[in-house]
């Protein structure tokens, strides 16, 4: 018998003798294991309890909310009192002047002559739009038309008496500016002079109406 065969036989012998030993199982409680196995069999399986999204949804949402609240708190504490910065901002605003007025100014104008200030004979109804328009145009303030309808803007009428005074008083030649030498345009009459002449008394301290500026010279447009 060779040495290898003898070694194999020895291994077989120790294998058989070791296999004859019985491991201890006295500490393995069989009854308790069966009881727990019965409990485990009726309990829901982990597969049915598995909720891949629902398991982490609320913790994740809670963590996100907590982080956001903490961030806002830190920002609030870090920011402190709001700083007020005062500064003056100059914004150039153009005075709203109708285009037609500018174009009227740009046109060749002729100073008012005494004769031309006479209102044509006929009924003058201040409230009627055509008459008012004609009146305003004759004073170089016409063509303030609204965007819609092409009519005069429904401007608040100046006091009716004043308008009537203007209308009825103008034909008097004594209110016309003195005629200049021939070939020279007559001097313009300012609103203040005209008002002082019409109403009497010292020149008014109050400013002229917005649509009649104090430094506006009254001219009559030459309608060809």
């Amino acid at each position: 018998m060779s040495q290898e065969e003898q070694h194999a036989l020895d291994l077989k012998a120790i294998e058989a003798r070791l296999a004859s030993l019985v491991p201890r199982t006295d500490r393995l409680d069989r009854e308790r294991l069966m009881f727990l196995a019965g409990q485990a069999s009726v309990a829901p399986s982990p597969a049915t309890q598995r909720r891949p999204f629902g398991r982490w949804a609320w913790p994740a949402a809670t963590a996100a909310m907590t982080a956001a609240a903490a961030s806002l708190l830190v920002v609030l504490l870090w920011q402190g009192d709001p700083r007020i910065v005062e500064r003056i901002v100059e914004v150039p605003v153009e005075r709203p002047v109708p285009k037609d007025v500018k174009t009227d100014r740009e046109r060749q104008v002729e100073p008012v002559k005494a004769e031309s200030l006479q209102v044509p004979a006929g009924p003058h109804e201040p409230d009627s739009p055509p008459s008012r328009e004609r009146f305003l145009v004759s004073w170089g303030l016409g063509d303030w038309r609204g965007s819609a309808g092409g009519r005069l803007l429904d401007l608040p009428l100046y006091p009716r008496t004043f308008e009537e005074i203007l209308v009825r008083g103008l034909p008097s030649p004594e209110y016309a500016s003195p005629a200049g030498p021939p070939g020279k345009t007559p001097a313009a009459v300012s609103y203040r002079e005209l008002r002082a002449d019409l109403l009497g008394g010292p020149p008014p301290e109050a400013p002229a109406p917005s649509w009649l500026r104090s430094n506006l010279l009254f001219h009559r447009r030459t309608d060809s």
Partner: protein, 167 residues
């Protein structure tokens, strides 16, 4: 019972319970708890594993290693196991082999050889199953097994009975 019937569980416990306890004892000091938990895990399975015995050994092995790590005794397991006088086997039927001596000899083996011998001798696993269980090759399982048996034979002084009979 869900997928594992009571008869199958009883049969597994009768046939492999003791070997599983001995197998788990190679790593931890509470092998009965590990085996019990492995059997309960088997009960909770909705499907019966193809190789129930192999599955049980794998679960027991993982549980025993986890228990050893959890108790922080993994590092000094050899020393702790050597100091423990708890017998691994019942009284030997073969008078020529003392159970305590066999326990001491087994404790002196490396863990790879020891678990291979336990799984092969008392668990009845094939070398392919042992290789799959330990994550090694079949030849490695063979080598560990024969090396362990040779070491045990030298330590226990067991000789071939035929050789003795010829004398």
């Amino acid at each position: 019972m869900s997928a594992i019937g009571v008869h199958l569980l009883t049969r597994l416990l009768d046939r492999h319970g003791a070997a599983l306890v001995l197998y788990a004892r190679q790593w931890c000091d509470t092998p009965e708890d590990v085996v019990q938990e492995a059997l309960l895990s088997l009960v909770r399975q909705t499907r019966v594993p193809e190789n129930v015995v192999g599955w049980l050994y794998r679960v027991v092995r993982n549980g025993a290693v986890s228990a050893s790590r959890g108790a922080r005794r993994r590092k000094h397991h050899e020393t702790a196991a050597a100091g423990c006088n708890e017998a691994w086997f019942e009284g030997a039927h073969d008078e020529r082999l003392d159970a305590d001596a066999a326990t001491a000899a087994l404790k002196g083996l490396p863990i790879e050889q020891r678990e291979t011998i336990v799984a092969r001798l008392w668990g009845g696993l094939s070398f392919e199953e042992i290789a799959e269980l330990t994550g090694s090759s079949t030849s490695s399982a063979h080598r560990h097994y024969h090396a362990g048996l040779s070491a045990l034979r030298e330590r226990l002084g067991v000789a071939c009975p035929k050789k003795n009979n010829t004398r």
